[in-house]
Structure formats: C-alpha cells, structure tokens
Symmetry: C2
Subunit: 873 residues, 2 copies
C-alpha cells in the first residue's frame, strides 16, 4: 500500500483522477505538475491514512513513517535543500485537503521547519533578516492557532500592542528587532497556553501539523458540516499536503495573490483577482493591507503576468471551466499553489457557460449542466441595488425571493384600497389566511411575523412571484395601534419599508431596486436546456397574468389552476358564503349561478392566455369552513347584510368546524356530498372553453378532481361531470376537446392507481398533500419540530421543499407504474410546490412522470433542472 | 345447454352442489329428493336463465319454452295430473331462489293453475269447496301482489271488511259464500289496479310468475341489497322453482309448519318450531292464527311426527348442521318444502357447534368454523332481561355493547364523586374528551348526543368494555339546567336510565339485566380455536383491571398499553400541565419526577397481572395541548392554583394549538424535541420491571415508540432509551429482559420498514392512524361524509372498523415483507381498533402479522376469528 504521493520536478505520482485519495487540493497540485505548470514540489499523504487513523484508534499505518521519510528525502533532492539544515533549510507548508471542501477542518501551517537554528541559515541565505523573523513569528502563531488551538486573538492583540508601542502602522513598519520581540512574545503565549515550549525540532513540527490535520477531521464543526451536507463520516477522510515553501514576502520582487480566470461576478472573460507585493498568502485574505487589482500586475511584474496569462489559458483549456487560483512570486519566479473550480454568481454562471460553449471549450450540454438551476432565482426577480445604502431593521425568512418597496398596511382590504389609488404597499401581518388573498395580490410584497417557509404567506407569495419575508419574529405588530415595533423602534402604517425576499431583510425607507433581465445568454441557455430535456414543464397559475408570465418564461401549459382562490374577493366570497348557508337547494343553486359567472370569466382569461396548451383546472379543494367568516364582527356583518341571524351563521360555522381540516370534508368528498358546486365549476369551464373555441381559439381544458383515495370516488365525480358536459356540448352544439383526470395526493390512491387510472385520463401528483399524509406531518404545524429535525439530521431536507426521495417517491413510483400499467395513455405530472425544486425534478424524472409544474417564476429553473436530470441519466 | 332441472319421484337432475345454478332452495329440494325425503315433485329453471335474460334485453333462451313444457309434462306424469285439467288439475307453486338469499326479490306465488274451471275440479276432487275457494282467493291476492305489485293492504282491507261484515273473527270463520265474495272483490281490485282481468289461462299465470321472479332480480331493493352486500349484479342471478302444490289447508288431517332441528335460541338438542292445522304456509308466518308448538304434533299427528323426526335425523346427518325446514301435511302425508341452514343466536351457535362435535357429527375444526365470532359479543356483556318491560326513550348508535343502568350525571367529576359514594351512574354528554376519562371509568355507561361509532366516547367505552350509546341526536342536553329532553320529555340529573349498547336503545328507569356467563361450551370452543390458530391474540389494556380481565378471556399478553390515559386524573393532570408550563429544565424534571411515581405504580400493576407474558407499553403519543385546560375557568383555576398568570397559561395554550393535531407535534416527535418525558417513562417502566423481577415475577416489558416515520427517529429515541436503561440496570444491578420496538402507523414507515426494522425489535401496526393517513381521513371528522360514502357504496366498510384490505393492507404487507426481510426475528402485531374485528383478523393473517391485539372483551372474538382465518387458509 502506497500512502504518499509525490509531485514535483515536472511529474507527479498522482493526478486529477485521484481526488478521492488525494483530496481536491492534492489532486490539482499533481495535475498542475503534470501539466508542466510551476508548482512547488511536495507530497500528499492520502485520505486513506485518515480512514485508517480512525479505524485503528488514532494510529497510523506502520509504513507511513518510512514513506514520509522517503518522500521528504526526494523533496530535499528536488530542492537541493535539507529539512532542518541550519545552513539552508528546506521549509514546508502543511495543508489539509479533502475531496469535498469542508469548513471547520484544520487549514494551513506555513514555514514548518523554522527554529532558532534554521532561521539563522535562512537569514544568511536570503540576506533578509526581516523576512526571516517575519516568517518565524508567522510559524509560531499558525502552529499555536491551528495545530494547538490557541485563540488567534491572543497573538493578534500581542502584535497590535507591539505595533502601537513602536508606532508602526503596518506589520511592514516593524523592524527586525521589533519582530524579534514579537517572536519572544508569541513563544510566551504558546508556553502559557500549553505548558510546554514551542517545538524546535522540525520533524516534531511536521508531525504535529500532520496529526492536527487528521485530528481535525472529527472536530465538532466538521462533523456538523458533514451531517448537514449528508456526507459520510467514516468513508472519505482528508489528505495532507506537504509542500516546499515559496515566499511572496522576500522583498519587492515577490508577491502573492489570488485570481479567477474570468470575472466570477459578471462572467466577463477577463482576469479577476488581487495580489500583494512582499506578502504571504494569508495577508491577501486577511485584509491587513489593501491588495491591488490583478490587472496591475501586468505593469508591475510583466513577466509574471505573461506567465500567469499562459497558465490561465492552460488551466481553462485543461479544466474546461473557470479556475480560482493562488499563486506566489518569489524573487520574480511564479509558483502556482492551488487551482480549483471558481465559484460564481448566477449571472456569471450563465454567461460563462454560454461563452465557453460558443468558444468551443465545452459543448452545449455541458453548458446546460454548468449552471445551478436554483441560482437562477436571483435573475428572475427585481433585486435591490447593491450599491444602495440600506438600514436593515430586522431579518426574517427569505420566503419568496425578490425586492419590494411600499407603504406599510396591516389589512388586506387596506392593501386593496390603496392599490386602487395607485399606491404601492407592503402587507404586514402576523400571518395570512386565504381571506387575505386579495390583499396579497394588491401588495408589492408581504411581511409576516410568524410562519415558516411553507406558511400560507410564503406559499402564496411564491406562487405569485411576489417577495415575502416570513416568520420575522423580531417585529411586534400592534393592529389596533396600526404600527409595528422592532427593538423599540416604531414603524407606522403608511411608513415606507423595503423587504428583500432573497435575503429576508426588512429595511426602513425606499431602497432603490434593479429590474431583472432575461438576457440573451439566459435565453440561449434555456433553448439548449429545452433541446436536452424530455420532462415537460408547466406552471401553477390561478390568474391570466400568472399564466401570461409563465408562458413568457417557457411554460408548456398549466399544471394546476386552483379554483378556490377565485372564490375569495369580497363579492365572490359573499356568494360562496351564501351558497354554504343556503336554506334550500334552490337558494343554493341561485348563489352558485352567480359564482358561475365569475368562474367562467376567470377561465376565459386563463384558457385564452394558454391557447394551444393544456390547462389543468382543479375543482374546489378546501373545506367549506375556510370560506366562512372568522371573527364575531365578520359574522355579524355577514348576517346583517344577508338578512340572517348571527347565531344561525355561527352555528353553521361551528357545525363545519373540523379537528383536522387537512384530513376532513374537502376535495372530492365535498364534490360527492354536495355535487352542485362541482357541477357549477364544470359547467363554467366548459362554457368558457366552448365560447373561446367558437372564436377559433384552440383551448385544451383538463378537469382535475382533487383528493381521490378510492377509484369509486373518481368514477362518481367523473360520471357526474361527464353528464353535465354531455348535456352542455349537445345544447351548445360543440365537440370540444377536454379531459378528466385526478390529483394523486392520498397514499391510498398510489396503491389503487391502476383502478383509478381506468377512470382517469391524467394523474397529477399533489406532492404537498401526499407529503403531508406520507409523513403524517401537517404543513401548518410541522414548523414546531421540522427545524429541529433538520438540525439533528433526522431529516436531510424539508420534504415540503424537496420531494422525499425515500418515502413519497416510492409511493409515486408505485402510482406511475400501476397507473400507466393500467392505462397506457395516462399522462402523469407533478403540481405540488416541489415541482419547481431542482432536486425534486431529478426525483420526478426517476419516478417516471411526464412533466413538472412550477410557479411562473420557477419555470426557467424547472426547464434547466429537467435538462440536467436528463443529462445525469 | 340444459336450463331446467327436474326433481321428484325419488331422484333429481340436480343436487346440493349446484347451488350457484339452482339457487339455495332449488339445490336443497334436489338434494332432499335424492336423499329419499318426500318432496313434492317439481323443476328448477336455472339462474343462468336470469343472466341470459339480462344480457339479452330481457328475453329468454330459445330452448327454454320447450324445456319448461317437457318438464311440465314429466311433472304431470309423476303426479298423474295435468296442469289446467278441469277435472283434477295439477297446481303449482312458483318461488324464486338465488344462491345467496336476497331480500327484495319476488318470493312466492302459490296455487298457480287455478281458475274458475279448474277450481271446480279441485272442489269436486277434494269434496271441499271451502278449501277450493280459499286457495283461489289466495292465488289472486299473491299474484296481484308479488307478480303485479298491487299493494297488499288493498287485499287485506277488503278481506277485513268482509270479515267484519260477516262477523267472522278468523279467516276460517268465513263460509264458502263469503269466500266467493272475497274472490269477486279481489278480482275487482286486480282489475281496478291493472286495467286488465286476472289471467285465467294456467300457462299465462305460470309465465307471469316466472317473468316476475326474473324481473325482480333487478328491482331497486334487490340492487340496493347487492350494493350493500357487495354482491355482483351481472353474475349470479336467481333461479325459479316450480313445484307441485301440496295443501296443508285441506282439513283437519292437514297442517303446515316450520321447524328447526335444534333450538336456535338456546342450542338445546330438541325440536323447535310451530305449525298450524288446516292452513297454508303463509298463515304460520303471518300470525293470522296463533300456531302451536311443534312438540304438540307428536300427539296430534303421531305418524307425521315420527316421519318428521326421521327426516330431521337424516337432514342433520347429511348437512351436518341445524336445519330450518318448512313442511306440509296433506291428508296425513308429510311433504318437505324447504330446508336450509338454521340461523341461531350466539349462545345457540356455540352450544350446537360443541354438541355436534361431541356427537361426532362434525370435527372440532368444523365446530370452530361454525360460530360467527362477531356474535360472541352478545355473550360477553351483561344484557337486559328480554322479558322485562322497557320504555324506550330514544335510539342512538350501538357504540359499545352491553347493558348499563344508572342515575344520569352530566359531568365527569360528578360521575367520580357519585361512584365514590357507591352510586351507579350513566354519564350523559354531548360528546366526551380525554379529560372525561375518569368519569367514563366511574360510570356504568355513557350516552352522547353527538359523535359516531369511532367517537372518543365510543372508542374509550369499547376499550373499557363499557356500554355506550353514541350520537343519540334525539336527546337535547341542557348542562346548566342539569337535564336532557327527548321529544319534550325531560330527564333530570339523578333520574335512572338504562342504556343498551348492543341495540343503541335508551330507556327510562332501571331495566333489569342478566349477567354474561362464559359457559363450558364457550370455554371448550375457545380451546379448540386455540389449537387451530397460529395468530397470537393479545389485548389493549391501560389498567391492571383490564389486563386481568383480558387474561381471563385468554389474552396472551398486552399489545398496547397507552400511557397517556395514565396522565389524566386530577393530580396527574396537574403535574403534566406543570411539566408543560415549566419555566426551566429543573422545574420540568421536578414535575416529571412526580409523574414518574404514578407511572411506576401503573406499570407495577399491569406487569404483575401479565406475569410471564409480553407487555407492550407505548410511550406518550398525543400532542401536549391535549393535556392543557380547555375553558377559561379551567385556565384560571390552574393559574391561580400553581401561582401563574392566567394570560401566561393561555398564551402557552395558544402556542401549542395546532391546525391539524393529528398530524402535529406528537408521538416520537415530542420524544425527540422534549426527551425528558420519554426518559421519565422509560425509567418508570424499567424500575417497575426490575422491582417485580427482584420479587421473582417473570416480567417482559416491551417499550414501544409511537409515530415513527423515519429510521432516524427510531434510532434516536432507541439510543436515548437504551442509555437510560443501561444506566439504570447497572445501578440497580439487574439484567432484566426487555425490548424496544415501534408502532408502524405512518405510511412512510411502511416504505422504510427495512431500515426501521434494523433499529427495532418489534413492530406493531397502529391501524387507526395508518388508516387515517392512508385515506387522508380524520377519524374525528370523517363522520361528515363517511356515512354517505358507505351508503353510496364508495366504501364497502368503515375502514376504522374493518381494516381496508385494498389500501392499508397493501402498506402493511409492504412493511411486513421489508421489516422481516431486514430483521428475521422481528415480531409484528396489530394494536389498532380493528385488531378485534373478525374480517380484519383475516386480513391480518394474510398480511403476515404474528398477532393481533384487541380490547379485553373482544379477546375471545379475536381468538375464534384467528382460528377461522387459519382454517380458511
């Protein structure tokens, strides 16, 4: 077994392919060496040693010591220097490097090998005592901190004290004698903290650092990170990279820097980064001095620049992606210390992917795979001008992305009124309910003090593509006083606030915003994605405006129109309430007839926006009590307006109350026990469709029955709808195309999918409810324990955001298999909230659905994710 | 194709085996003929004709006419009489007879073939004009009623009028002339109703009756019956039996009767039945005259009696079961008209099965299969003395069987107080909640005005084996006035009422009751059942008393002890409330320590009652808010007693409130977020077990974690319990045997059963919750549509009473397969309400569980059902 991999002098034992063994850093150092790029020689102790270490009671394989010695010797030979040689010592850096970068693990110890003896050699050899002492104090600090766990602050304060005492503004202002004082002080700190002297033996330093790297694999932060990221603890492990030191701090012909091969913020094909002359790497990052723009290097060190340019070319051509590198110039010689794939903004990701494909560096499919769909969200909503000043009042959950500015209002009706006067408002509520729907629609955005990512406000806002900050516990709303307070500060109705649904920030005043652009690159990438993907992408839209927007974003139809949202709004609400309260069938039908007019006009709008594309309209889903008045005042108002007795109204409300409304009298259960409502809806759909059809509009309505758990339910509702439709089409003399299908959202429906499919032309998974019932979680209540579940790793993801691939997906697979087995032509989609989530789209693909349906703003995300799911396949 | 089967003159074309074709009646007539029993000859038109009839637009197969004619000829030959012969006519009966007896179908037409001509022949031949005219008027009435649908009342009233006019008390008092008048009047009625004359042509009468039988297969009542009984409409069909008339009304040497070969009420091996001399069969049933006890026949007609005795022997030996027969004596000749398996009471069923096995007529396994387990319920509860007078006030749902008598109380605390004074009370509430548990325990029975078969009151009462009448909407409770009214009648607190949970009746006063006996026969049958069954039977018991009773009834351990019931009761409730309200961890632990004392003593009692048998104890399941005060008064009382602010208490209550508590923060979710409670419970269980163990009691505690949906939940709770147990056993120096397992009640747990099984030593299906989530039905709310679903045939059974064999069972099968696949030693049971339901036990057997757990009173039912499930296998 070989545990140690050498790299240097133009060749390496390892390569990029050995990432699992060498870690990302080690593999890339080997790869760069093989590419002929100047990399300081070194060797990597493989991650297998880390696994061995934890399997064997924190001991090393027997051969390790010898292998390290051999490689150290080889390193000495390559460098022509010996480790610990008092004349001209080889100095080393020790760095961790796992296959997946992992916060919390030990990072870097530089200048390993320095002690009072070797320091003399270094000073003599470099004729630079300042450099020598500076390097030495850095070693003591880093070793003390990262290997031994002494708080950085102790060293920093000591250094600051001395600088102050000496009147030195920068570290570079300290004299050699000052630095000697620093070294003494640092040694003192070390000894005080650990009760032992700083180790002077170079090999002790080296093994101390190695031990620290392996030991850090199981420190609490690393464990927590792996828990959160769902990485295994016992596989993997970290490698250790031991590398010849090169110095950017040997004088004015030395420098150190970090750079990207392209601009990671805009995606422009230009070098991007910064460097510091006469500095070690940590100085750039730590901001001790202000670094310079990498472009200045061209003037300051033209040779190094040219070489760097050439290396950038080589790296991009080799890695086919933007690289994020570290480099050091030592006495005018350029060394590369690290390369890795560069992180970038969504905007940059799109541009880089498209540019590289057009440059021929990658193909279009690769470009499609290069952009994280989730990040597109940033590009699809207005955002706050980053350069603007902002006074952040509080921070809540980033429940629905985007930027919104408006005057504070506290009631939905106020929002509607103000909107009608052309004003922009932010609706602020402890939480919202279906009755606030008009207000939500009227507002620019919504801010709630309670509720989570899946609260009513959050879900509806995301559906509308409207910014929302939810669960902002710091604000305390006083409805009566028409104000809210944050930390004693009062914000009144009418005051301007700005909310950032992307970050969760709530700001005072009007922060300027920037409009989103679906630019050329974005469009191009979407087209390529469409070429790749097999999975259809539709949208969930309840209004013609949403339908239009979604179509612009590429939706191929509507996967879900929720008709109940159409029942809210003052006038409509009154009719549905009267329908519920009706004393007789006649009265009920009278009120329903009024509702039918509204419904028909809703459907006219949506169907015509989606001309040529399928539109799935779900029949009424929620329980009736959701429509009834909430408060005593509302009860009385409704009673007096409709000539009823308030007590009678209240008694009806009580009668309809449910212990678990989620599992109650709703969906097709209502359609079966009170068939008039569904009949009205079906009639409105068909009348609207026929009207458009006669005007030459190609309409494709699909009627969807919610909450089916038994084939007998589906058959009953279908038969009754069919009867209505047959009558209508005959009387209207039309032969409209339409379909009748069902939601699959009850676990039992998955088992009986074959029998249900015999009665249905399509299935659409209601993954929200299916998740609720599969887990036995109420979405409205789960907040009380879900966060803790996620934190403790009991669940990896919130199943209401990301489809549960173990449980819910198994039921879906069962339903697809049985459903399509029984009805070959059965179309199957997903219309739950998770339909717009990239990981869920991968699951959807695996499960075998034909399309996903996402909220309008998530349609592009879904298109890209669907393409990537295909590519992964 | 042969459509017609002849029987007569000692041999028959058909036999018992052809029940599907000949119907039950026809097959038994053929069988009796083959057995040499005197049966009037006849022929059966097979049920296949019925199927043909409906498949071919209500027409008959071409050959039918000819076949009927041939068989009629054969019948004429056997009888030496011709159909329609004016001298000595053959008269026929026409009866329907499906394989499954089916109410609503046409029943019987007698005397077919009579008209003014043939009547003369009959009179001449019998020299009995009275008999002739009586038979004729019967034909007209029956033909009018059952073939033509004229209301029976019309004929009855006309007959009554004439009897009054003639001063006749009985039909037999009418003279021949009177009867002629009746015939004229009946013909008139016939003509008025149908606009046509009564058919005089014998073959018209015959075919009219045949048509009517086949036509009645699809009448609304028959369709409804098949819907309810889940019988197919297009298979099956009814047969038609056409048989030579024999007459019990030809004089004093004639008679007609019905009899059982054994007493169907007590099971005694004695003849049982009644007869009438000089009468036709319908007279016995209609109660026109009071019939005589069959035993009197021995004196009155000794020859007929002897022959009947012999036939009874033959029938029992042949059919191996009690027979219910119809017979007629015509001029001293005995004829058997029908035999079928006799229906019997539960008591009789048990005695007959055991007797017959001991007589060697059947084997023990057959005896086990002979008793309907569901009917045992009658034998296991006190019942009202059937001979007592009772004044029924109202009728509700028969929610929990048994008879209870007591004074009316309206609150649980009143019930407890009165009980302590040695008084017997009936708790009367609109509905009950967990806080009423003490009151339910104290009361003899419970009566609620709301709630269904699965309401809190019903479920708890069944669990306690206490009578309950639920959902008795007719009673109107006035809590303030301490009274309820029924139809204007007021019943006050303190008044005696009697409730019959077996029938749902509510009676005024103290109706005398009869205690149940588990007699010798019952015991014997149970022993035989135990020898047959593989499925274990345990009980759901929360108290030592329940455990003891269940053990007496044969429970082999406890499948479910609900620990939350133990938290109710004044003192305990206060501690759990204070635990919930605790300001600090210390305070919480302090209150929990108090609860632990109660819990330990609970467990001591239950574990010692179940010595040597497993006892599964479920950790806390319901959400915390169930324990908090309900009303403003209670809030204030609690606040002042514990030195808290009422507002603070209310705010905690509000905080814990849930939209869907069923899907909320409960079960292991609570155990994970607030581990102290489970730790306390585990400690109490183990301490109790160790204490008993040290006293030499063989205890087998099994700790059950509720509501697991993810293996990670199970692992976490198990690890934490394990840690508590390890510590305890070490400190107590014990090596107690115990197990840790889980409920399977979340659909997701069924999918992940393999992973969960790796962490669990046993599974117990919580079929209540599993049903709720699989269907998406809230048990508390489903009443609003479930009844309608059952009525409309959308569901065949209430899935909370009978395990859903299509959906829920599929998930269970999945869980058993995966669970046992991953953990061979995994024990799997059912502890939901359905565990005591016979049909559900069959499903359980199919699904592959190891045992079922039923409420104490249903343990014998479960034992028998389990044996039958095995036999069926």
């Amino acid at each position: 077994m070989e545990y140690v991999y050498f790299f240097g002098a133009g060749e390496a034992d390892g390569s990029e392919d050995l990432k699992e063994v060498l870690g990302g850093k080690g593999a890339n150092l080997a790869e760069m060496t093989n590419l002929g790029i100047p990399v300081p020689a070194g060797f990597t102790i493989s991650a297998e040693v880390c696994q061995y270490y934890y399997k064997h009671d924190e001991t090393y394989p027997e051969s390790l010591d010898e292998e390290v010695e051999e490689n150290l010797k080889r390193l000495e030979e390559v460098n022509g220097k010996e480790f610990g040689d008092p004349e001209d010592p080889l100095l080393l850096s020790v760095r961790s490097g796992a296959a997946v970068s992992m916060p919390g693990m030990m990072d870097t110890v530089l200048n390993v090998g320095l002690n009072e003896e070797t320091l003399k050699g270094v000073i003599e050899k470099t004729d630079n005592p300042r450099f020598g002492w500076d390097s030495y104090r850095r070693l003591i600090q880093m070793y003390g901190e990262v290997v031994k766990g002494i708080e950085a602050r102790e060293f920093d304060l000591a250094l600051e004290d001395i600088k102050e005492e000496k009147g030195a503004a920068n570290d570079t202002d300290l004299t050699v004698d000052d630095l000697k004082e620093v070294v003494d002080k640092f040694k003192e700190i070390y000894e005080e903290n650990l009760g032992e002297k700083f180790p002077t033996e170079p090999r002790d330093q080296l093994w101390g650092a190695i031990d620290a790297v392996f030991g850090s694999w199981n420190n609490p932060r690393a464990i927590k990170y792996r828990n959160i990221s769902d990485l295994p603890h016992d596989a993997l492990g970290t490698a250790v990279n031991i590398q010849t030191m090169v110095f950017g701090n040997t004088g004015e012909n030395s420098a150190t820097g970090v750079a990207f091969t392209r601009n990671p913020s805009t995606g422009e094909n230009e070098r991007y980064g910064e460097y510091l002359k006469n500095a070690q790497g940590e100085d750039v990052v730590a901001g001790v001095r202000t670094p310079k723009d990498i472009k200045e290097l061209q003037e300051e060190m033209p040779d190094a620049w040219d070489e760097l340019e050439e290396i950038f070319q080589t790296l991009e051509e080799h890695y086919k992606d933007v690289q994020d590198v570290e480099f050091t110039v030592e006495h005018s010689d350029l060394y590369m210390l690290q390369t890795r794939t560069g992180k970038r903004t969504a905007k940059a990701a799109v541009k880089i992917a498209v540019d590289m494909a057009e440059e021929g560096l990658i193909d279009e499919e690769t470009a499609v795979g290069r952009v994280d769909p989730e990040t597109l969200d940033q590009l699809l909503h207005p955002s706050f001008d980053e350069s603007a000043d902002k006074q952040v009042l509080a921070k809540g959950l980033n429940a629905s992305p985007g930027a919104a500015v408006g005057e504070v209002v506290f009631t939905a009706s106020e929002a509607v009124d103000r909107r009608e006067n052309g004003e922009k408002v932010i609706l602020v509520r402890t939480e919202t309910s279906p009755e606030d729907i008009d207000g939500l629609e009227a507002a620019e955005g919504v801010l709630t003090s309670r509720g989570g990512m899946t609260s009513h406000a959050a879900v509806v806002a995301r559906g509308m593509g409207k910014p929302a900050v939810a669960g902002c516990g710091a604000i305390d709303i006083d409805y009566e006083g028409e104000a809210f307070t944050v930390d004693g500060k009062e914000v009144e109705a009418g005051d301007y606030i700005s909310i950032d649904g992307t970050t969760g920030e709530v700001m005072l005043g009007q922060v300027p915003t920037v409009e989103p652009k679906m630019d050329e690159n974005f469009q191009k990438l979407m087209e390529w994605a469409d070429e790749v993907r097999q999975l259809g992408v539709r949208t969930n839209a309840d209004t013609p405006e949403d339908a239009k927007r979604a179509r612009e974003f590429g939706a191929e139809g509507i996967g879900l129109t929720r008709t109940e949202h159409m029942f809210f709004g003052d006038e409509r609400l009154s009719y549905i309430r009267q329908t519920i309260m009706a004393e007789s069938k006649e009265k009920r039908e009278e009120h329903l007839a009024e509702l039918a007019k509204f419904q028909k006009s809703d459907f006219l709008g949506i169907l015509s926006e989606m001309e040529g594309l399928p539109v799935i309209i779900r029949l009424l889903d929620p329980p009736l009590h959701e429509f009834l008045p909430d408060t005593q005042d509302e009860v009385e108002e409704f009673a007096s307006r409709t000539g009823r007795d308030a007590e009678e109204v209240q008694s009806k409300i009580n009668e309809l109350k449910e212990f678990n409304p989620m599992l109650g009298h709703r969906g097709c259960r209502l359609g079966i026990t009170m068939p008039e409502i569904y009949e009205m809806q079906v009639e409105a759909i068909i009348r609207a469709a026929v009207e458009l059809n006669k005007d030459g509009v190609d309409v494709r309505p699909k009627i969807m029955v919610p909450l089916v758990g038994s084939p007998e339910e589906m058959k009953r509702v279908k038969d009754s709808a069919q009867a209505v439709i047959d009558d209508l089409l005959e009387s209207l003399d039309s032969d409209l195309y339409y379909e009748i299908g069902t939601m699959i959202e009850i676990p039992r429906a998955c088992v009986l999918a074959d029998e249900i499919a015999a009665e249905a032309e399509f299935f659409s998974f209601g993954t929200n409810d299916l998740t609720q019932m599969t887990f036995g979680f109420s979405r409205d209540d789960a907040g009380k324990f879900l966060d803790e579940y996620l934190e403790k790793g009991i669940l990896e993801k919130n199943p209401f955001e990301t489809l549960d691939s173990r449980g819910v997906a198994t039921f879906m697979e069962m339903a697809v298999e049985r459903g399509k087995g029984a009805n070959e032509g059965l179309e199957v989609g997903i219309c739950g909230e998770q339909g717009g989530d990239p990981e869920s789209i991968h699951t959807a693909k695996r499960v075998g659905v034909d399309y996903v349906s996402a909220s309008p703003f998530r349609v592009p995300i879904a298109r890209l994710a669907a393409a990537q799911a295909e590519l992964e396949d």
